[in-house]
């Protein structure tokens, strides 16, 4: 079955540093990989989508990489701010023609002032 692994331990970093979050998937090849932000008690907010034929995508302070050989995506937030503190979810879809998304449990990011 499709499975996504994200670091369950919270990532604590200092303001201004670059946060790097990891998403690993196993046993399948998704066509799409998405990153979402989720604040407590709220719905996920879409951040970035990257396709299997793309290596890297950027949006403002965000950067996502997609390595289909390693079956891994890295999500970077540069010049992090306390307002970036949230849980970040990785989601994949498009494997085998199905677009049912699979989500990871997310990694909590805490940016300290």
């Amino acid at each position: 079955s499709q499975k996504i692994e994200q670091n369950s331990e919270a990532l604590n970093i200092q303001e201004g540093k670059t946060a790097t979050l990891t998403c690993n998937y196993t046993n399948y090849s998704p066509a799409y990989l998405q990153w979402y932000r989720q604040d407590p008690g709220r719905g996920p907010v879409f951040l970035l989508l990257i396709r299997e034929n793309e290596k890297e995508k950027r949006k403002e302070r965000l950067k996502v990489t997609f390595d289909t050989t390693l079956k891994q995506s890295l999500f970077h937030i540069t010049a992090s701010q306390p307002a970036d503190s949230a849980t970040y979810l990785c989601s994949t879809s498009g494997a085998g023609g199905s677009y049912i998304p699979t989500f990871g449990r997310g990694t909590s990011l805490i940016v300290h002032p």
Binding site: Y32, R42, G43, L49, L89, S93, G94, F103
Partner: protein, 119 residues
């Protein structure tokens, strides 16, 4: 900015009762989704809906669940006979085009969720 809205924000029900969760998707969106998230767990896909039909559904979406678009604005999830394990946050989402679209407009916008508590 347009957003997905959901009502109620919190629903408490007795086991075996029927509940209807309501969503108003973004007005020009054509694809609608329901997800659930059990407390502390991952977001799980339930169903996608397009053109008044279910497009895809997960194993969770069994005969106890149904979806409907009763009018031009609402999208509902009905659970016929709730169980304790149905307690979760239920999120509605909508997108302009379907998942996998090449235009990039398949971004799903999530609502704030309905917290369902089954006693």
């Amino acid at each position: 900015e347009p957003e997905v809205t959901q009502t109620p924000s919190h629903q408490v029900t007795q086991m075996g009762q029927e509940v209807i969760l309501r969503c108003v998707p973004i007005s020009n969106h054509l694809y609608f989704y329901w997800y659930r998230q059990i407390l502390g767990q991952k977001v799980e896909f339930l169903v996608s809906f397009y053109n008044n039909e279910i497009s895809e559904k997960s194993e969770i979406f069994d005969d106890q669940f149904s979806v409907e678009r009763p009018d031009g604005s609402n999208f509902t999830l009905k659970i016929r006979s709730t169980k304790l394990e149905d307690s979760a946050m239920y999120f509605c989402a909508s997108s302009q085009s379907g998942a996998g679209g090449s235009t990039g407009t398949d971004t799903q916008y999530f609502g704030p969720g309905t917290r369902l508590t089954v006693l």
